[in-house]
Amino acid sequence: MIKDNNNRSDGKALATSSLYTPDYILDKALDIGESILKCGGESHRIEDTVVRICSAYGAEQTDVFALPSLIIAGIRMPDGKTSSHVRRVYKTTNNMYKLDEINEISREICMGKINLEDIDNRLKEIQTSVPYSKIISVIGGMVAAGGFAVFFGGNIYDAIAAAIAGFFVSLMNIPKLNLVNKMLYTIAQAFVGAMCGLMLVHFGLGTNIDMIMIGTIMLMIPGLAFGNAVRDLLFGDTVSGIMQLVQAVLTAVMIAFGYIVAILFFGGVVK
């Protein structure tokens, strides 16, 4: 877990290591690292994985620096050949299925079970496979919003109202709207969530507007990003921690902005 730089060069080189150029090895290792970053892996996990793969294929020294949007890496082989690559990542999501599968691939690579040439196919397989359909994701969003409405002290009617509001919020996840601008998208999502909550209370479904709102907030809150940022900061990944911290705070401000706009527009209807 905590990085231990002294142990990194201990990995024994695989027998086939001399077949590959340093460029090729680093390129494949960074393919794996980039995939981990895209599905929400932490910086130290990316750095650790890239170092392990490179040293398994005979790199004498590997230097990796991963940020939430960028990976920089360089290797040096025993014969003095060097190579360095940079990868830029624009969009990250939380996808535990892909993270699990990629972890499996990197473990197999380090044990020498699969060749570097096969990585492309395996990664393509993972990119196309979908563990849950979109309908199940929307239902998941509804249940999560309803569950948290009760968790924070609401009654069953609040839960139903929060689930309906959660339905509209999760429905916005289906088109790739969030590629446009993440902050604007968060404002829109928060606005829709608050509007649905206020309307439902106005029409008599649900009594505690607070609990309904909290239920829908939980669907977009950056609380885990905040926890992750604190963990990265305490780990020593200072830059990555600060980047995540700023993103989390900005997202929270955007959520608040969306809710405040909705309450200013529709608040009079309820009270």
Binding site: M96, P131, G141, A144, V150, F151, I214, G223, V230
Partner: protein
């Protein structure tokens, strides 16, 4: 008031739903949900006995992180798979809402109080997780030294 047992059940169901949103594999879902259940139970017990915002969250996050490290080694999956859904019930969504609600009604003292609570909970979750990493690091180091 909603009884605590109902709250725990609701929190567990919400954790399961979030595990699906995070796309945890179907065969790992029970383990991820169990982490959320444990987090809810510890959170409510400590809120009743100790109180405050820091202690319940830091202990719950610590136990969940420890559980997810154990599950990660048993099930050969990254610990994040169990950690993210497990911690979601601790996320300070309520206080964030009350922060902006107080801001909206121009009650700035209250808003600052809720803001600080939100911050404290965030730091508590991060602190609980980092404590487990430290424990794992020290035990593996000790284990390696004993093996030599």
């Amino acid at each position: 008031m909603t009884p605590v047992i109902v709250k725990i059940i609701a929190g567990t169901i919400a954790t399961l739903a979030f595990a699906i949103l995070f796309k945890v594999k179907a065969k790992l879902l029970p383990y991820a949900t169990f982490g959320g259940f444990v987090a809810c139970v510890i959170y409510f017990i400590l809120t009743d006995t100790v109180g405050g915002a820091f202690m319940p969250n830091v202990v719950a996050a610590f136990i969940v992180a420890l559980l997810s490290e154990v599950f990660a080694r048993v099930k050969k999956a990254p610990s994040t798979v169990f950690l993210f859904p497990g911690c979601i019930a601790l996320v300070p969504g309520g206080t964030l809402y009350y922060t902006m609600n107080s801001l909206l009604s121009k009650n700035y003292n209250e808003a600052f109080h809720f803001f600080l609570t939100t911050l404290t909970v965030g730091i508590a979750i991060g602190g609980g997780i980092i404590a487990v990493s430290l424990v794992i690091y020290l035990t593996t180091k000790m284990y390696n030294r004993l093996k030599k």
